[in-house]
Symmetry: C2
Subunit: 462 residues, 2 copies
Amino acid sequence: MAADEGVRALRETLGAQVVMLPGEFGDRRVEDWSGLPSAVPLALVRPRDTAEVAAALALCTRHALPVVTQGGLTGLVGGANLRGDEVALSLDRMNRIVEIDAVSGTMTVEAGTPLQVVQEAASAAGFYFPLDLGARGSCSIGGNLATNAGGNRVIKYGMMRDQVLGLEAVLASGAVVGGLNKMIKNNSGYDLRHLLTGSEGTLAVITRAVLRLRPKPTATATAWCGLPDFAAVTTLLTRAQAGLAPGVSAFEVMWAGYHDTVLANLDTLRAPLASPHPFYVLLESVGTDPVRHGEAFEEFLGTMLEEGIVSDAALASSEAHAQAFWAIRDAPGEYQRFIPDHAAYDVSFSIAQVGEAAALCEARLRERWPGATILVYGHLGDGNIHIVVDVPGMPKHDHDDIDRIVYDVTREFHGSISAEHGIGVKKKHFLRQSRTEADVESMRAIKQALDPHGILNPGKIF
Amino acid sequence: MAADEGVRALRETLGAQVVMLPGEFGDRRVEDWSGLPSAVPLALVRPRDTAEVAAALALCTRHALPVVTQGGLTGLVGGANLRGDEVALSLDRMNRIVEIDAVSGTMTVEAGTPLQVVQEAASAAGFYFPLDLGARGSCSIGGNLATNAGGNRVIKYGMMRDQVLGLEAVLASGAVVGGLNKMIKNNSGYDLRHLLTGSEGTLAVITRAVLRLRPKPTATATAWCGLPDFAAVTTLLTRAQAGLAPGVSAFEVMWAGYHDTVLANLDTLRAPLASPHPFYVLLESVGTDPVRHGEAFEEFLGTMLEEGIVSDAALASSEAHAQAFWAIRDAPGEYQRFIPDHAAYDVSFSIAQVGEAAALCEARLRERWPGATILVYGHLGDGNIHIVVDVPGMPKHDHDDIDRIVYDVTREFHGSISAEHGIGVKKKHFLRQSRTEADVESMRAIKQALDPHGILNPGKIF
């Protein structure tokens, strides 16, 4: 068999330390967090440097052997899962911080470096690496790049593509493209960095990157706000962005249904406000001047209360107090305890249409399943909401009908079926709800141009 | 001739109002600001909407007729110039603002809309469109996108690619890709928007875009600083980014040679400081709270003076005073008056290496031409400097020897030969000083995938 020959060639060339066969890697996890099915790879390849990645890919292309690149395996759409006819290429050994350049404000890392390691190294060097998500301890920078990860601080700092200056990657042929550039401006031909970011391992294997570091914020102001309607929520966003000089670092909106449900189900949470409101916003601003920053934030909040844009608000008086607000927003980490079979969606719209789109979704879902639990919340500053649906008695992996309702609304509002999680296998049948046929054909043409034998992460995205 | 047939087919399909033949468009300018040679097009095509662009490109592909897309024709690298065997496709009639969405903070425009029109419309709607460059009155949004334009405010707001949410474009085949999305987060497949941005008209014709608007700054603080050495300049940058909460909106560094030369040659300029310094920095920060912002800026500047990072400084006391500082930085607009035959370079490096790279450049140029005028200045926060060289007696268009010296240093420091101007025809022979052969091959493969007959802006970039 061609695949056997390919695996044999990999093992001979790279050695048994790098190329492990089934039975040799024990019960090591090889599937992501999506809960979707995954198979055992024909071999697990664990290169130690870019040259070994290049050698492996050149051999895989020669033997038409499919390759699934794996980072921290924390993805939610099955993008790193296996069909069974591929080798898994793990970047876990390439986990070194190569350099921190404090003058240029950059950190050069290998792709397998966990996000949290990068965050901590940046902090130790007096800087801030703003990308942050729940999986920080496990997810890797390479995976963050391959999926263009988002998270809570996008409103101020952008997504993963905005955190990278230079990117080195290996094409299916084994050719190494890009490089460890530290330039912020670079208009010398097509920007491969931006094409590869978010391509979910289908165009190249990202091996190293130069990350951009930011000044460390030294002042944080946080408030929990209750608002009368969605128009007030978008007004608060616009006013906060215009009125808080250092900008808004988080603007997390929660519909009342979310707030009430998580508070009813999780004993550790306390409602920050005495009375109920239709919408809640966790507003945060970071700056560098604690006194002026705190004063300006409090003044701004006072104005919003006076004008009735915010009905009631609690200002965090300490870091612990702010953390208690964040605990309500972070409750999705506890869904397994009370809605283990829920369906979860990560969609985005124009900011102006988020309210209407969410309402339509909820109405259609409610019409079909009157007893459903429907939770809506998200990063409004990015137009990104998460919709969680739990229909009593409906098992996990049988969510097709819910999928259709949510993604139809997404298409009707010209939204995105994937704001930050990617397409993987989970959403590929819905890709055309967000992309035209001409778009998909262009994507296929680009894929064919860079990976003519289709060995990189086949069956993902399209 | 095939070309004649193609032009005839264009004229028949789109009409004489859209497709004009030589002689019918008078002495209308068809070359850019590079000063490089350009020819008369076989026809000038001026579509009124995306459908006409699509019809024109489909016909050009069928007849293998090359197309050069033209916007405001303000480019500096010959990217929109003609060889003589192409039709020129001007977007000048597609110059409408389609919509301003004040809640989402977006403006949807046709690609031919001049930058200044966008800036003014944003301002009238209570917003700010941050991209700004000298050619603002003539350059178009489509050209800004095709070249990923930069300018003075990149340090705070990013380049043109950071100002666009949705992008509609027409491929060579006539297929329309992308769309007028307003989402900030959108991870549904490859990001064609970022691939097309900066591709200089070689992959598609950009027809419409959704631009991201920002809150309007209402407080500006500006200072002119004299510094003892380059280490102090990078320290000031790091400290300003960390210490000024709303961030730095401009950090323009000028080497003494630049300062002294422009002041000696332009009567209208006045030196802001009494004594000479090796380096000058124009530091600007914008915010929203005039009182707190001004106080914090002045305190920061005081600390920098106390610590000796800044040797002397002048704080702008009025807008006119700030404009007098900017006039020194904007002196390149007057080069024609005293160094009309100069060679100009737009290069970038890591911030840490800008000083060393500039010094090496200057030393090598000085060794070869001891009497040369060498001016160095630029956007240090982006690692981007401009180097201007005037060798007495050396005519314009005979700068090959200077090119080689500057671009060799660029390669040695892993810098970019084009920070913000693009490659066009002017820099294409130097592309490999900044990109590897594998990079160029990938670019060719992508070009071949999206424009298989090579009709879009042939001969540009590579």
